[in-house]
């Protein structure tokens, strides 16, 4: 096991514990989703959710392409795809935050019902992960512009891409179990 593999394995162990964290939030959500006071599917806007899903999935793809370009030391192509990933990720976060603020403005509070509490906890935790990943991605963009595709930067990009793909993976279950089930 060389140094790169060790770094990746370390990140992977973190991702696996994160998976358990999200699983417990999902379990809480599924248990509490019946505990709603007069709210339900009407709370969410389906087109927004579909767009969010599409944006995050596309950003996951561009992130992978950015990594491939970086491995071939094509700096500007890699930077372009990484920037696209960053912008798509930021768009996703913006959509999510505006969704939250729309809910709050329509009188939904964290304490409104068990359903809403567990919804904010689950989707909010995912959003927080996205925000942290975006900060990491921005720092990496600056580092690549400043020092180019050094060994260290490519390694960081590899780790970041795994983290980013993982967040897209969690989103599959959020749109299925949170949003689609609410529409039924």
């Amino acid at each position: 096991m060389n140094m790169n593999d060790k770094n990746l394995f370390g990140l992977w162990m973190y991702l696996m514990t994160d998976l358990v964290l999200f699983a417990s939030l999902f379990a809480v959500f599924v248990v509490l989703r019946g505990q709603a006071t007069g709210v339900g599917g009407a709370l969410f806007e389906t087109p927004t959710i579909a767009i969010e899903t599409f944006v995050l999935l596309t950003s996951s793809f561009t992130c992978g392409v950015a990594l491939l370009c970086a491995r071939e030391r094509r700096k500007y192509l890699s930077l372009a795809f990484l920037l696209a990933t960053f912008l798509l990720g930021a768009a996703f976060l913006w959509l999510e935050v505006s969704e939250f603020s729309r809910l709050v403005h329509s009188g939904t509070r964290l304490s409104s019902s068990g359903f809403v509490s567990s919804y904010f906890a689950l989707v909010g935790t995912h959003g927080l992960h996205i925000a942290v990943a975006l900060i990491w991605m921005f720092a990496l963009l600056v580092a690549v512009v400043a020092r180019g595709l050094t060994e260290g930067n490519v390694r960081k990009l590899t780790l970041l891409s795994y983290f980013w793909h993982f967040l897209d993976l969690i989103w599959i279950f959020i749109f299925t179990f949170v949003y689609l089930l609410a529409l039924l």
């Binding site: 394995f9 992977w12 358990v20 248990v31 999935l57 993976l169 599959i172 749109f175 689609l180």
Partner: protein, 117 residues
């Protein structure tokens, strides 16, 4: 790690997502009568799981190859923990009523029934 793998993963995920949204929209368009909940629920859960597996292979490069063995092992363990955690929680929480001790008046009726007290 090739471009083809990423493209395949991306296209598959797009299709699975569109399909999941599509059949739910179909369900709403038919006034929640067709496809029925019993048909719909397993379908969208299966689509999500399928997409999860495809992304695990195409984006997170998990495989049965020797160099990925440790990561696969860690994932297997996490999957077991997740399975116990979620199914256990749901099992307990959705069978609470059946496991409750009956209230005093129900208990009295039961005892009269059984023992003629």
């Amino acid at each position: 790690m090739t471009l083809t793998k990423y493209i395949v993963g991306y296209l598959f995920s797009l299709c699975a997502t569109a399909l999941a949204f599509g059949i739910v929209e179909l369900h709403i368009a038919h006034h929640h009568r067709w496809p029925t909940h019993a048909q719909l629920l397993p379908t969208i859960v299966a689509l999500a799981l399928l997409q999860f597996i495809v992304q695990m292979i195409c984006f997170l490069h998990l495989s049965f190859k020797k160099e990925e063995r440790l990561r696969l092992l860690a994932f297997g363990f996490a999957a077991i923990v997740v399975g116990i955690l979620t199914s256990g929680s749901l099992w307990i929480m959705f069978s609470l009523n059946g496991r409750m001790m009956p209230n005093a008046s129900q208990m009295e009726m039961y005892m009269q029934d059984q023992n003629g007290i």
